[in-house]
């Protein structure tokens, strides 16, 4: 007799097989299949871009960039990992690279720290927390490290490579992010 866990696993395997056949169709140049793939994963890609950038317009542009590049680079997906895991990795890389290109000079020159959340957060209380809003309020480097480590599960070594920083800096930024969150959530 199958347990509920086995049933869920079988369902997931079935869904993943369906997804793989969709990916194969896209590799053959099927635009309709790509639109379907886009619709299936838009929310997950945008969520990651929005958390990394903390800016709706920039996240939308970065999401477009992810799907534009994905169309051309899908051949690189060999099916070794789950598609969603691979897509998260692609999204992180493209989004970070996009942010570097878009904001690099502008922020260096004017030292801007503009996020959508700067003006939208009041002091919080521990029981009633919109973590996404707090994340968007974090300073850029601390936010990116926090999202990649705590939300996406990256190791600090991977983050250091992706963000071109020392491993120690990644850990320090993560610590800083948690300190700020702790303060905003009313724990300090």
């Amino acid at each position: 007799m199958q347990t509920q866990g086995q049933l869920i696993e079988a369902k997931e395997q079935f869904a993943e097989r369906g997804l793989l056949s969709l990916v194969e169709a896209v590799k053959q140049g099927d635009r309709q299949a790509y639109h379907k793939l886009y619709q299936m994963h838009l929310g997950q890609v945008y969520a990651l871009c929005y958390r990394l950038t903390a800016d709706r317009a920039l996240a939308e542009d970065a999401t477009q960039e992810v799907f534009i590049q994905l169309w051309r680079k899908l051949d690189n997906y060999r099916g070794d990992a789950k598609f969603s895991t691979w897509l998260h990795s692609v999204t992180s890389n493209v989004c970070v690279s996009y942010m570097r290109k878009q904001r690099g000079w502008w922020q260096r020159m004017f030292n801007l720290e503009s996020t959508d959340a700067v003006h939208e957060v009041a002091e919080g209380s521990a029981g009633d927390v919109d973590l996404d809003t707090y994340i968007r309020r974090l300073p850029e480097r601390a936010r990116m490290v926090f999202v990649l480590h705590a939300v996406e599960g990256y190791r600090h070594e991977e983050i250091a490579q992706l963000l071109d920083m020392a491993v120690g800096s990644s850990k320090a930024q993560f610590h800083r992010a948690k300190q700020l969150l702790s303060e905003w959530m009313g724990y300090e």
Binding site: G43, F67, Q69, M109, A126, V151
Partner: protein
């Protein structure tokens, strides 16, 4: 409240984060438009590339002169800013004309162009008050370059390596 309580609360909040957030605007038309373009078949892109090259050469000459010489007296510094602005306006208008009718990748690019215009105006105002500041002239040139890059990018997407 203790650090342990915070860690527990944070873990609960992390687990509750939504996997899926939808953007406010429809992103597909921009993506579909870009899928039809390749770096090889975009004559538009080549044409704008020549414009960029010509402008860059002129600007490098101008900025090189800025770097090598003493900053001119007030009226000359203002003239230099004017030349820079005129040159930029010509290049910008030519670019916009070449992309006329072509769909852009983002809806808010005009707003971004306007914001850069605002930044340029602020720098020019600062130059009036501090005309002997070469950093301001360099900033002005960089804002203009940013604007050109933006217009090119939203109309002729480039491909990055994943």
């Amino acid at each position: 409240m203790s650090n342990k309580e915070f860690e527990q609360q944070l873990q609960r909040n992390l687990s509750a984060l939504p996997d899926d957030i939808q953007p406010e605007r429809d992103l597909w038309p921009g993506i579909e438009h870009a899928l039809g373009q390749t770096p090889e078949n975009s004559t538009q892109k080549r044409a704008t590339g020549y414009w960029g090259m010509a402008a860059a050469t002129a600007t490098i000459g101008l900025m090189g002169w800025l770097g090598l010489s003493q900053l001119p007296v007030t009226s000359d510094a203002e003239q230099l800013a004017q030349v820079l602005s005129q040159q930029h306006q010509q290049q910008k208008q030519a670019l916009l004309a070449s992309f006329d009718g072509q769909p852009a990748l983002t809806d808010n690019w005009q707003q971004q162009v306007d914001e850069l215009d605002g930044a340029a105006a602020a720098i020019k105002q600062a130059l009036k008050e501090d005309p002997n500041n070469p950093a301001l002239l360099r900033m002005l040139q960089q804002v203009y370059q940013q604007q050109i890059d933006l217009i090119e990018r939203v109309h002729a997407p480039t491909w990055q390596k994943i």
